[in-house]
Symmetry: C2
Subunit: 343 residues, 2 copies
């Protein structure tokens, strides 16, 4: 068990290191007026804390910095729950005071605002798309030979894809097809679209259109679209300002990772409810082993629907990051609930 003095010293070291990114020496700690002991005393305590694994040195005669275990203890027991500034609270609240219509824009803007406020990277995983249902299908002819299919979902997502109208496919066949689609597919969750098309729609098209194979081929081409992106990343540039990214190689690795959704999505998926902190090697993904990730889930009523996360150096301002995420999640959940209740 740590003594009060050890706790105080550990806390001061973490706070200071988060601020300066420099190892902290005993003299500097002694200068703080919360601390009433001499440097020598502090040195003794620091030696003990190091032995216990909470601190580490960069070399044998350097000051101390927190180890991962030190950060972990800090966030679990020492961290002051940070009061956000009025300005920060206003920024977030103001953002949610607008009517929320299109989920996508909400996600995208959220990522941008949180990046700006925290100076870390923000990752937002939108609501799982199996929730979202088809609202309407439209086909707009562009030229003699091409048209655009537009799908609107109940979350306000608009997906569109252009396609070539198969030679010889009748205009009326096209219209009939669209009618069938709207009749049969509206209200169906997007993930079931392909199944429904194969099962229900196929037969009807065969029955009602003059050139079945053409019409069906068109469908496959135009409607079996990729499910909408629901991952938003913002604030990559912020990382360039963090001293731990002085190294071009590190930047390259991080940036190239952040270019592929396949690599980011697993980081956020299936996080447990609430706010969680993953420090350094607590992250399963190797590329994040010297970063920290803070995740926070948001909900609709009881259902957890998405995750928002901040990614920064292990030396990050955990208190602030947590406070921001929690405020954001709370507001987001509220807004989502009232939005869904209206529907």
């Amino acid at each position: 068990m740590l003594t009060d003095r050890q706790l105080l010293i550990l806390k001061v070291i973490v706070d200071e290191f988060v601020d300066t990114a420099q190892p902290i020496g005993s003299r500097n700690i002694a200068k703080k007026d919360q601390v009433g002991f001499s440097p020598a005393t502090i040195r003794n305590e620091m030696a003990d804390l190091e032995e216990l694994g909470f601190l580490q040195k960069t070399h044998s005669s350097s000051g101390r910095m927190p180890s991962e275990k030190g950060y972990r203890f800090y966030v679990d027991h020492l961290m002051d729950p940070l009061k956000l500034t009025k300005d920060e609270i206003m920024r977030i609240n103001k953002y949610f005071s607008h009517k929320m219509i299109e989920l996508e824009r909400v996600m995208e803007n959220s990522a941008n605002i949180l990046s700006e406020l925290t100076q870390y990277m923000t990752l937002v995983l939108g609501p799982e798309i199996f929730e979202t249902k088809l609202k309407q299908v439209q086909i707009v002819p562009l030229t003699q030979h091409s048209a655009i299919a537009i799908l609107v979902t109940d979350t306000g997502h608009v997906e569109h894809r252009s396609f070539v109208i198969p030679q010889g496919l009748d205009r009326s066949d096209l219209e009939k097809t669209v009618n069938i689609l709207n009749e049969k597919l509206v209200g169906i969750p997007l993930v079931y679209l392909d199944r429904m098309i194969k099962k229900e729609v196929r037969g009807l098209i065969e029955k009602y259109t003059s050139d079945f194979s053409k019409a069906y081929q068109l469908l496959e081409e135009a409607l079996l679209i990729d499910l909408p992106t629901n991952l938003y990343v913002s604030g990559k540039g912020n990382m360039l300002n963090q001293p731990e990214f002085n190294d071009i190689e590190k930047i390259k690795i991080l940036f190239s990772m952040m270019e592929s959704e396949e690599q980011i999505a697993p980081i956020l998926k299936s996080k447990e409810e609430g706010t969680h902190i993953f420090i350094g090697r607590e992250n399963k993904i190797e590329a994040l082993n010297d970063l920290s990730l803070i995740t926070s889930t948001y909900t609709i009523g009881e259902d957890q629907v998405g995750t928002i996360a901040l990614l920064g150096p292990t030396r990050m301002d955990y208190a602030k990051a947590v406070a921001m995420l929690q405020l954001w999640s709370k507001q987001m959940s509220q807004s989502l609930k009232s939005w869904y209740d209206k529907n």
Copy 2:
């Protein structure tokens, strides 16, 4: 006037420096088998070339590298018109062999492919939007109180915006409004939309709908949308591999510039027809003063409609970059022409 020998030496230096990024010494030049003179002779010639401003040294006893004037002379008079590899030609041609429908995707993919092939940054400025015309307006109700307006242009661009349905606005008013819009606005170039709405549509709405001010307010909110983005940037990450970007500060400056369209668009706008090279300080924009920009315009028939550009270090492979851009522009112009002819 330069002698043949000077021309040869200048060319060798540029070619070699583009390849290695290291200043070139007389011994290295002498080793090339196109060169039949001793290092001493070459040193004399180099001294002359430096005096004439084509070469420069990094320090008094270093090898030489091309000055901006040297590059300029090189691209104007010395550069071999590079034969692209079969593979490169195939990649580009194959890309254009598909049917082209949605202009936006074409632009975006073009940027990606050219970045990958050249390892520089690609900037694409899409066709000027004053060309694009409204094809159809649709409004899809989402909930009791919200709906999505969807605009489709003749270039296959889909723009959408969600809005809150003003309290008390009749459903039939909404439908009437949409009908009026489609009647009056289809075929109108996007840039004239706001003018047309104010002039033609305003009166009609007043006449036919029961609550004029609400319907009109809605219009302003939902239809006076930003003109579609027509700027695509790709390959930022490539710059991290260029030795001239070893410096984090430089990366920060470039990246932050590339985040704002307002800063990039002027670089590409109103470039003269054809392919043009801007070396270092020939670029008006200060942030590009140690980079080179190669622009190439593409056309529909006689009309110049857009610009594509490659951005890289002044030490870039001009021959290859020019060849790529020209092939791309040619193909793009052809495709656009046949696309427009069909419409």
